[in-house]
């Protein structure tokens, strides 16, 4: 009896220590995440202009968002952007990870090179890619040399601007995905491949039936994080197109930024931010539900 008591006393004191260690982070989280979220929820129900006036307007902001053509366009652009960039950046990431897993001299150098875009400033990337994609830039020079007499105008046309942004985005994130997937690849037990070989599986069969299932938790991780960051895309837009030409690359996060910090409509912008949150929440929930069907732990 006495022993039991002392164990629980020990547990208690340990719990206190644990809370003490967590406290700095917890306070930061409450102050800089939880509080602003609740505050924004309140603001989204007002017409706050960033200064004094703050009248309660109910759900009016949410209702008018859906008749705002710019919001609808930014919503469409965000969805298209996500649908294109997430699968492609992961698919390229897998291919790159397989290549990087080969035992070739100097492969570590390539691993570093492919990861570099991830740690490079988006402003610098935007500037360089704007030059690459310019009308007489290197990319169009190559296309013209290959016989395309009328190459795309990339970021200066509504038809290709979103594609241009998607290309840069995929280029940027595939290296990151590749490194994560590479770590997953190297965690697969060689015994499994040997067993498959003994059963007469060829390279493709062992890829489909051993590699992919064993990688599924890693791929799932990439899928969720990539999707969330795609829905929140902002830096690449402001660095390359500022939402243009016209509204061709206007995305949700850029819309929120414009409505709040340019037009001073913080209430309206907060409402848009909450809709964005709801959309991300919805798709993430679907993924977590769907993973039961294809992810092996």
């Amino acid at each position: 009896m006495a022993a039991k008591k002392s164990v629980s006393a020990y547990r208690k004191s340990q719990r206190k220590t644990a809370i003490l260690f967590l406290l700095p982070n917890l306070v930061g989280f409450l102050l800089f995440v939880v509080y602003p979220v609740f505050r924004a929820a309140i603001i989204s129900l007002t017409n706050w202009n960033g200064f004094k006036q703050m009248d309660f307007v109910g759900v009016r902001n949410y209702v008018s968002l859906f008749s705002d053509s710019t919001f609808i366009i930014s919503l469409q652009n965000t969805l298209i952007y996500t649908i294109v960039t997430v699968p492609l950046s992961i698919a390229f990431g897998i291919v790159m990870a397989l290549l990087m897993n080969l035992k070739i001299p100097g492969i570590k150098v390539f691993r570093t090179i492919y990861f570099l875009p991830q740690i490079t400033s988006m402003i610098a990337i935007g500037l360089v890619w704007s030059l690459v994609l310019a009308k007489y830039g290197p990319l169009n020079q190559i296309l013209m040399a290959l016989g395309n007499s009328d190459p795309p105008k990339w970021i200066s046309s509504t038809k290709y601007a979103l594609t241009s942004v998607e290309i840069v985005s995929i280029w940027r994130s595939m290296g990151y995905n590749a490194i994560i997937i590479l770590a997953g690849l190297q965690g697969i037990d060689a015994v499994l491949y040997e067993a498959a070989k003994l059963d007469g599986a060829n390279a493709w069969q062992s890829f489909v039936h051993v590699t992919i299932p064993m990688l599924s938790p890693t791929i799932f991780f990439c899928l969720v994080t990539q999707m969330i960051s795609s829905f929140k895309v902002f830096d690449i837009i402001i660095a390359m197109t500022q939402g243009g030409p016209g509204r061709a690359t206007n995305v949700l996060a850029y819309f929120v930024y414009n409505k709040s910090f340019v037009d001073s409509r913080f209430g309206y912008a907060s409402a848009a931010a909450f809709i964005m949150f709801a959309i991300i929440m919805f798709f993430t929930a679907i993924q977590f539900y769907g993973q039961k069907k294809w992810v092996n732990y």
């Binding site: 202009n49 960033g50 200064f51 004094k52 006036q53 008018s64 008749s67 705002d68 053509s69 710019t70 704007s130 030059l131 994609l133 310019a134 009308k135 007489y136 105008k153 970021i155 200066s156 046309s157 509504t158 500022q242 939402g243 243009g244 030409p245 016209g246 509204r247 414009n258 910090f261 340019v262 037009d263 001073s264 409509r265 309206y268």
Partner: protein, 415 residues
Amino acid sequence: MKKVLALVLCISMLASLAAVSFAEEAVTLNFQMWSDEQELFDKLIELYTAKHPNVTINLTCTPSNDYATKLQAVVGDADLFGISSPPGLAEYVNKGAVLALDDLIAQKGTDVSGVQGTLDSTAIDGKVYGLPYKTSSWVVYYNKDIFDAAGVAYPSGDWTWEEYFEIAGKLTSGEGANKIYGSLNFQPTSMWWRVPGNTSKATNPINDDELHAWMKSAEYCKSLSDAGYQPLYEDMASDAGADYSGNFLQGKYGMFYTGDWAIEMLNTAIRNGDGFVNYDIAPLPHWDGEEAVTPGAPALLMVTSTSKHAEAAYDFIAFCTGAEAAETLLSMDYFPAWQDENTIATYCEGKTAPEHIEFIVNQTIISQVPCDALYNPAANVVKEEVSLYLLDEQDIETTEENCKARILDEVVNAY
């Protein structure tokens, strides 16, 4: 004994109170500004605090591109701040962030005779909210060497946009990398294309007829590109944020129109050996049958409604707008808001670059931007739609219709 002690204490207390009320209270003012003005205000603050040693002014400067965003966050803690054009003033007045100055002007007997015109044009509901310290206006800059080579006479005064077009054609020559363009243009996402429209006194796109004049203006600018006298707008698309006085310095462009601020930029670049161009200025053209006017905008200083030292802040901005500060502005090549015969004479005196600097002062300035808080969001809509027109993605009729519909939806009915 106790009574004596109490008396001594009382007297010393009163004495210290009196001492406080006699010596001027020490005041610290927080001042928000954009970076281009740092040098000017460092100097003005130095002059002002020499006479008012009890005042400390903390000047915080933010790069121009970020200033509008930054100001939103910090205006509540500032005592005074600057704005580069009237719509910004209207925006902050709408928010209730700016103190009306009429009472202080009357109470302090401030002489505002030299800036009365600007005060009238920037008043909101009949009240003065900001005091101007400088004004800017637009002129045409031209490269004399390119005119000489083409054998075209320099523009020397009254001229029309039609003539500008014709001259731009005569100045255009060459091919490829050696091509000389008659006129310089700007990236499609800028608002430069509206300036010919401004000279028809069309400044607020919320009004349909002024929007229509802007559309004519966009058509005019595009026709210069389509005729080959300017680069195509699609070639300028990736040039965001490029420095245009820099392009002009390369000597590949015959003419361009911009604000008088470019004089200081060009002269500084030439002085530092960053390029050379043999240039002069001419007034902005006008449309055939209209009178010659140039758009201009005052930069203003405001006291915040939340300032705890409103009187001290007002005293400083009254100093910046006055005749004495005007001399400092003149010495730094700025054209002060304070205008009398004396400032105009000093501005032109002894200036050789450009030779015809008097065009800056001898023109009728109309306010380029209305004191309307809805101007900026409306102008952003027009900017998006017109960029599509300049890039050949939609025709001018569609552009005008879209502008009207979107301004109604997203601006007029939304606020």
